[in-house]
Symmetry: C2
Subunit: 111 residues, 2 copies
């Protein structure tokens, strides 16, 4: 699936200066929807905390009190939204924050 945020400039202009179009609102809402779940906020936070090294799924499952399939499900949603990138190293999968994507969302909220 195509990430919702793949280009810093293309998406989500500040919707506080002038009314956004129906399409822009839909794109913004889909990104916010990815963030609209405590488990996903914690995942994003934990992954951001380890920085460029990336966090593997095996580190992320225990802190959350959720099954491994559920954690994989949430990671996929964050990745589909363009907020995470995924990299395989051997048997493990490492997730990293896409800071540019978060910057876009952050900027969209400012006047």
């Amino acid at each position: 699936m195509l990430p919702l945020v793949d280009n810093v400039e293309a998406c989500c202009p500040s919707f506080l200066t002038s009314a956004v179009s129906e399409e822009e609102a839909g794109q913004a809402a889909r990104i916010f929807k990815a963030l609209a779940e405590p488990a996903r906020v914690r995942l994003l936070s934990m992954i951001a905390a380890v920085g460029e090294a990336g966090a593997c799924v095996c580190e992320l499952v225990p802190p959350l009190d959720l099954s491994q399939p559920t954690v994989s499900h949430h990671l996929r949603i964050l990745q589909d939204a363009g907020l995470l990138s995924r990299e395989r190293r051997g048997t493990w999968a490492y997730y990293r924050i896409r800071q540019d994507a978060l910057a876009v969302v952050s900027r969209a909220l400012l006047v």
Copy 2:
């Protein structure tokens, strides 16, 4: 209902510097949930666009293709999240953006 964002300093420290607690994640997620709907993004955008004057419900219903009760429902969710303030003037209800609340959310997303 108590707004989720009623104090700029109290809520939502940046969750990108270090892992947030379970409770902080829940608070952040509830705010993002309020934004996780195209109709609500458009409402927020339209209300922000008119500035301090505030927007009355009668102006907000026609552009969205939704019934008046549904629009009232969305406005309530945004207000409960602390993103909007409401004021009655005669028969009309005027909604305004709470910029400080949006600033909190925006800052939480930055490194």
